[in-house]
């Protein structure tokens, strides 16, 4: 009781009346306006993460999607480019592009060609040496000319 009276005495004396007004019938109409809003909310689909619809996240997600897309394409392309020898020979046989005899010839030729390159270099050196001896050319003359 005493506390209540003290509180009253300590109360500031500012005007307490509400100085604001509302349009006529505002509170009578408000509940039905609210019902309409709720009905609209039920009909309209709302994306559950509105913050993701802001420009920055959209750009970020688009960049990630593009990166993943490019990366995935490259992975598939690399895989298709690197066929094993077995896959190539199987394909060649199955498609009947060349028969077994022709393939053996190709392999033989490619092995010969590789071997041939090294022996040809050896042959060329010995031929030059032989030529120099036959013609009696002094090796020092050639070095001096160089």
């Amino acid at each position: 009781m005493q506390e209540q009276e003290n509180n009253k005495l300590n109360q500031p004396v500012f005007p307490k009346e509400n100085p604001f007004k509302v349009p006529d019938g505002y509170f009578d109409r408000f509940p039905s306006r609210m019902n309409d809003r709720i009905a609209d909310e039920k009909i309209t689909f709302k994306f559950p993460f509105p913050s993701l619809l802001k420009p920055a996240p959209i750009i970020a997600f688009a960049s990630i999607a593009v990166f993943i897309g490019i990366y995935t394409l490259n992975v598939f392309r690399t895989n298709s480019d690197t066929l094993t020898d077995e896959e190539v020979s199987t394909y060649v046989y199955q498609e009947g592009i060349i028969d077994e005899v022709e393939l053996d010839e190709i392999i033989e030729y490619s092995e010969v060609a590789v071997a041939d390159t090294s022996t040809r270099q050896e042959n060329e050196s010995s031929e030059i040496e032989k030529y120099l001896l036959d013609e009696d050319i002094d090796l020092n003359d050639i070095i001096n000319e160089l």
């Binding site: 500031p12 500012f14 005007p15 307490k16 009346e17 509400n18 100085p19 604001f20 007004k21 509302v22 349009p23 505002y26 509170f27 408000f30 509940p31 306006r33 609210m34 019902n35 809003r37 709720i38 909310e41």
Partner: protein, 182 residues
Amino acid sequence: MEELSDQEIIEQFAVEANRNYVFNLLVRQYQQRLYWHIRRMLIDHDDSDDILQNVFIKAFHALPKFRGDSKIYTWLYKIATNECITFLNKKKRRFFIPMVDVENQLSKNIESDSYFSGDQIQMKLQQALLTLPEKQRLVFNLKYFEEMKYEDMSEILGTSVGALKASYHHAVKKIESFLKST
């Protein structure tokens, strides 16, 4: 007007068939108190109307999850208070001006507001209130105009009763000083 207890509102809202009817009662029960709380913070009627609608929309969606840990009335006030603060902060960011300028603008708006019917003293009081920090203004409005208990205010604002009493005291001193100086 039929008034339902918090428990009745929660129970009946859970029944899909009753939902719209119960929500309509809830709106009728709290619309005026919430509106004036919002209006004192935002000053402008149209802004207050928008925010009040947002408050009830949020309440409609959140009510099924409301467990009754607090009173529906303090829960609604909490939503309304947060909506007001968010609105004022957005306004500040939109115009790249500090908060004090937004409140300065609101103070000027009172003078030209067709929905303000107060006399010169009431206008001065509103202008004095707009010089207060946001939280002090909230505390003063809830205590002085709405005569809310400090315990309920504590629940709404998440501040201790002691701090609220101190905040109210500072607000009163600042208002008195403003009114004396003008």
